[in-house]
């Protein structure tokens, strides 16, 4: 039932009062718009202004260490410089590797753990609670903890591997193993997120459909492949999108485990931008690189959302 503008403005209790009269003049749409003004003002000040300001900064030459005021206008030079900077290109390459590796691993393990722990019994709930632990630890603490675990000569992981006769690798000292280590640590921390969301998606599946498939003689793998996975696919893609975007912006784990090294081997784009902006204070250059990263994240997000929308549409058509 539609509400009148007088109801919205509370004028009903005060017939003929100034608020009621103003509400009637504005109409329902106007009153609704009026209520949005404070929220829009906060968003404008807290989000749009910094974004616009940062775009302006990218078009100028500004290193804070040299001057507290913005330098000359340089147009798109900072963007062009970033796109041809070998450090930017190299960092982008590792960032993509990390994003793909960490996302794939966390999705695979997260879904697997969700399948194992979905259910309403105490032990299922306890398992899911315990599995959440890595996600609720601060990433800086996660990185510091793993740096100690992965210490090649004295760390507990290699000691344990030695105990069963395996010569553990030089986790953080070898460029290739360092890259693998960072991917593993990131996936370890965020697999629980996938598990929790996918467990919720699995729990919401209609039980009668699954039971009907069982009655028809379908095996577990067939049920998963033909019924369960297609039904949770929209949620799965949404989780994949969140994981991919999060992995594309990884900074804290890099900062605490490898510092981007050895050499430049594990330098992510976010870490490189952090260094440019907050360590060397090349503000305009870092801002331009941030916008490129943001654009990349938006493209990834858009890709996932389009994919998800097509699958949902296709599923609706089939359902109809």
């Amino acid at each position: 039932m539609a509400r009148s503008s007088s109801q919205l403005t509370g004028g009903e209790g005060l017939p003929g009062g100034p608020i009621a009269r103003a509400g009637e003049r504005l109409g329902e749409r106007g009153a609704l718009a009026l209520f949005l003004v404070p929220a829009l003002a906060v968003i404008a000040v807290a989000q749009f202004y910094p974004l616009v300001e940062s775009i302006i900064i990218t078009t100028h030459d500004w290193t804070l260490a040299r001057s507290p005021v913005m330098g000359r206008f340089v147009g798109l030079d900072n963007y062009a410089r970033a796109l041809t900077d070998p450090q930017f290109v190299g960092s982008t390459g590792f960032t993509l590797l990390l994003a793909v590796g960490s996302t794939v691993i966390s999705l695979a393990f997260g879904l697997g753990l969700a399948l194992l722990t979905v259910g309403e019994g105490f032990h299922f709930r306890l398992s899911r609670t315990l599995l959440m632990l890595p996600m609720v630890i601060a990433p800086v603490a996660v990185g510091t903890m793993w740096r100690m675990i992965l210490a090649a000569r004295v760390g507990p992981l290699n000691q344990a591997l030695a105990g069963i006769g395996i010569d553990g690798p030089n986790w953080l000292g070898d460029p290739n193993w360092a890259a693998a280590s960072v991917i593993i640590v990131d996936a370890w921390q965020w697999t629980p997120f996938v598990t929790i969301v996918m467990a919720a998606a699995l729990a919401s599946l209609p039980a009668d459909v699954l039971r009907a498939a069982e009655v028809d003689g379908a095996g577990r793998w067939t049920i998963f492949r033909r019924i369960v996975f297609p039904m949770i696919l929209p949620v799965f893609l949404l989780v994949a999108m969140f994981r991919a975007i999060d992995a594309l912006m990884t900074l804290d784990i890099i900062f605490t485990t490898t510092g981007g090294g050895p050499g430049f081997a594990t330098q992510t784009l976010s870490f490189w931008i952090y260094q440019q902006g907050l360590r060397y204070f090349n503000i305009s250059y870092a801002a331009a690189a941030s916008w490129i990263l943001l654009a990349g994240c938006l493209v990834v997000a858009a890709g996932f959302l389009v994919w998800r929308s097509r699958i949902s549409g296709w599923q609706r058509e089939r359902g109809a």
Partner: protein, 420 residues
Amino acid sequence: MSRSHGFSRALLAAPLVTFALAGASADELNFSVMESGTYDAAARQIGDEFEAATGTKVVVSAFPWAVLRQNNTTDLISGTNQYDVMSGGYYLADVYSYFAPMDDFIAADNYGDGMIDNLMKPGRSEFVDGKQIGIPYGIDAFGLLYNTEMLEKAGVSPDFATWADVAAACPKIEEATGAACFSHPTGNPEQIGSFFLSSYPGTYVTADGTYALDEAAAVKAAEELAALWQYLPEKGTAMTFDEAHQVFIDGDAAMLVTWPSFVTKQLDAEDSPLKGKWGMATFPGEGFTWLSLWQLFVPESTEDKDAAWAWAKAYAGPENATRNLVEHNIGSVWKATYEDEALAAERAHFWPALTAGFARAKNPPLSGEAQDFLTNTLQDVANGRTSAADGIASINAAWANIPVPSAMLEAAKGSGLQAE
């Protein structure tokens, strides 16, 4: 009771007299310093005495090196102005313009008289537009420490002229001892610079004032570095300071390349297996030994500069220098400390090489960004991710876009590291 303890107790009375004359008037001073268990411990100790003598409380904010560097620069650039006196070194070059010149204070107190020769000169202490902004208080120079028994067993003399000589001796050492040739805190990426700076004999700044390495000499130095890296302990390319030191102490490496002040006290401890069995060699190479010269800086924004100067003198001055060395292993910048016969006898196994290192040591005239790029690239060369030639070419290409802070130009010129 050891002689050093007796000596330090005798010194306790001296600082109180100095503080009483210092004339500090601020209620509180905020001081940023490295969290190392040495510099920060000395600051708290002297801070308490300073407060008792002057009424000015010194709030000591201690951070690990990288955090300290970040906090200092952010504090200055953002105008937060939290710290009245800061600890740092040449890597703060990007923000030198935020510091107050100290020349008037130095001249008024004739400060620096009795300091190690040329320490208050550009290229060692920090200057902006010819004015001194940094007051030295802790000195160290990279050292090559060796296990005397192991080198004797291998029949190797520790008098290495170059790092190529070290690399040439390494197979012999490893074969004779079964240990790694040397240990080094490889997990701290900036530390690799110690090898390069000492083996590269060229300049860092061109005649027209841009950063550049002499390509041929730099490639040769980087190749020496890569050759050396294969003689680290197994899986030893990401070791912390503590880990690298322990490898040497445990006899798993015959030599150790590190900052001596971080480890000498531990090596000479009563329970150390290396007590009486180690020495320090002259640091090899045709370049220069990396200098660590901790200095105190007073930001322009500090309201009570007289009080800041009083604290600087209390913390960095000669009165506390020997106690800081004995109790906290902070390298003294004052000549008198090294002229103390009892101390010199106790440290005869490493002081000659250490003090020779001080005389030859310099800071590279590099901004933080230029230095980070150099050392990260050298790590890539050492780990085989890139060749020495490609690595040096990439450094020169990146350095072409990194401006040389004016203070670094002065330093480069003053220390002979700018091409003519």
